[in-house]
């Protein structure tokens, strides 16, 4: 196995594509990390499903107010210019196309943009939350993920085998090895770690990687 980006580094890379002034929803867990890496001089406004816009980072331990949480039920803080609203207004923002970008985790992504990130099958208690709304609402839906599963199997596939979250919704995938766009039903490689060859990357990917112009080096600082 070659070098790969840490989760923090994947989040850093995804953060570089968030424009100044963007309204952003970050999925529960790993994607929340993207907020830490906003480039200097750019300001994004973060949305959480449970009715807060413009929140800030976590409070210090012991200073939590449990009426002020995010969709992951973690305590948050407010920044000047924040707003509260109820769940129907919150999902009007989502479904109505008012979010510029949603960044989500994934179990699997297919080359046509299908996403599977809510269920690993019929075992256990199913839970979907707001993921199905986000994938059909935000103007741009991006995924951050390890390039392969813990046991080394591809997560980028010709077709998802797990239950779908949404159909044809993902347009860019930031992995631990590469940045890949989804265009016209194909994976198009944009950036890859300099330490991995195209053929090595292709071998770790469950569908054909296409080229459309030069592939940039994916260079991410230690974070």
């Amino acid at each position: 196995m070659t070098d790969k980006l840490s989760n923090a580094q994947i989040a850093w890379r995804a953060a570089q594509d968030i424009a100044d002034g963007a309204y952003v929803n970050l999925g529960i867990g790993f994607p929340e990390m993207v907020a830490k890496f906003q480039p200097p001089g750019r300001e994004a406004v973060f949305h959480t499903e449970n009715g807060v816009l413009g929140f800030g980072e976590a409070p210090k331990p012991g200073e939590e107010d449990w009426d002020l949480i995010n969709a992951g039920k973690k305590a948050i803080t407010l920044k000047p210019g924040s707003a509260f609203f109820h769940h129907a207004d919150s999902f009007a923002m989502v479904r109505g196309g008012h979010l510029d970008v949603a960044i989500l985790g994934a179990y699997q992504v297919a080359q046509n943009g299908d996403l599977a990130n809510w269920s690993t099958g019929p075992k256990g208690v199913p839970a979907v939350g707001g993921a199905m709304d986000l994938v059909h609402g935000a103007r741009r839906v991006a995924v951050i993920t390890d390039h392969v599963t813990k046991d080394g199997k591809p997560k980028l596939l010709e077709a998802c085998t797990l239950p779908l979250t949404g159909v044809g919704c993902v347009t860019r995938v930031y992995t631990s090895l590469a940045v890949i766009d989804i265009e016209g039903g194909k994976f198009v490689l944009r950036e890859k770690l300099p330490s991995i060859s195209f053929d090595e990357l292709q071998a770790l990917t469950g569908a054909t990687l296409h080229l459309d112009g030069p592939v940039a080096d994916l260079i991410v600082p230690e974070v």
Binding site: D20, G21, Y23, E43, V45, H47, V52, L53, G54, L78, K79, P80, G81, S82, A83, F84, F85, A88, D89, F91, A92, M93, V94, R95, G96, G97, H98, L99, H136, G137
Partner: protein, 244 residues
């Protein structure tokens, strides 16, 4: 992030010929008179925008605001619930002459269609208008034994709105019943421009008191002491001013 626009002229500069424009207010309450008049100024100076589709509960009163917009010949179509008014001459004359189109929508359906546009709901069912002329041609479905009419969302290219406080992020509050359609139209337009009576710094509106969160707003322009349509009409005002 700072959504403030310095002048009314810049605030309305992006509205093109043929655009669909939602205009806030119910009668004169919440009507963005200064934004509308800025649009008229632009039309008088440049001949544009024209052929507008305007969405508002009414079709203007007197000779200011929406009535003045119609009077200038800038409006090809009105979508509204109550185009009659105490001084209906402008719209009435054009309508009866077949020179302006009207889509008549029940008031609650109009509000819900606009909200649906903002909320990503392409269609919904309502009991309103079932069995009436206004339901003609619309799909009907029965739920739990009762018939309902299918209605489609309404969206717009632009919304011109009036609010009380507005901060740099576009968070808004409204003054009393001037709220009416304004928060809904903010959601349903691609470009929502708001005249606010007081522009405040971020933090100048309590987060719990925000009525329209800034995500729905593209620009605000401060208009202190805005004109009230009802008072203009009681003074028989015309826009642009005419020699009496």
């Amino acid at each position: 992030m700072d959504k403030r626009i310095p002048t009314l002229a810049e605030a309305v500069a992006g509205i093109a010929d043929g655009a669909t424009v939602m205009i806030g207010g119910f009668g004169g309450s919440g009507a963005p008179i200064e934004l509308i008049h800025a649009l008229i100024d632009r039309f008088l100076a440049t001949g544009s925008p024209k052929n507008l589709t305007v969405i508002n509960n009414n079709a203007g009163n007197g000779h200011v605001g929406i009535a003045a917009l119609i009077e200038q010949g800038m409006v090809a179509k009105m979508i509204c619930s109550f185009p009659r008014s105490a001084d209906p001459k402008v719209f009435t004359d054009l309508y009866l002459a077949g020179k302006i189109e009207l889509e008549l929508v029940p008031q609650g359906t109009l509000a819900e269609r606009i909200r649906a546009g903002g909320a990503g709901i392409p269609a919904f069912y309502t009991p309103t208008s079932y069995g009436t002329d206004l339901a003609k041609g619309k799909p009907v479905e029965t739920f739990d034994g009762r018939p309902y009419v299918q209605e489609r969302w309404l969206k717009a290219d632009h919304a011109l709105l009036k609010a009380e406080l507005g901060d740099h992020y576009g968070n808004l509050t409204y003054r009393m019943a001037a709220r009416n359609f304004n928060p809904l139209m903010a959601m349903a337009a691609a470009n929502t421009i708001v005249q606010v009576s007081h522009a405040v710094e971020p933090g100048g509106i309590e987060p719990e008191q925000v009525i329209t969160p800034g995500i729905f707003v593209q620009g605000i322009v401060e208009v202190p002491h805005p004109a009230q349509e009802e008072e203009l009409n009681r003074a028989d005002a015309h826009y642009p001013e005419v020699a009496q």
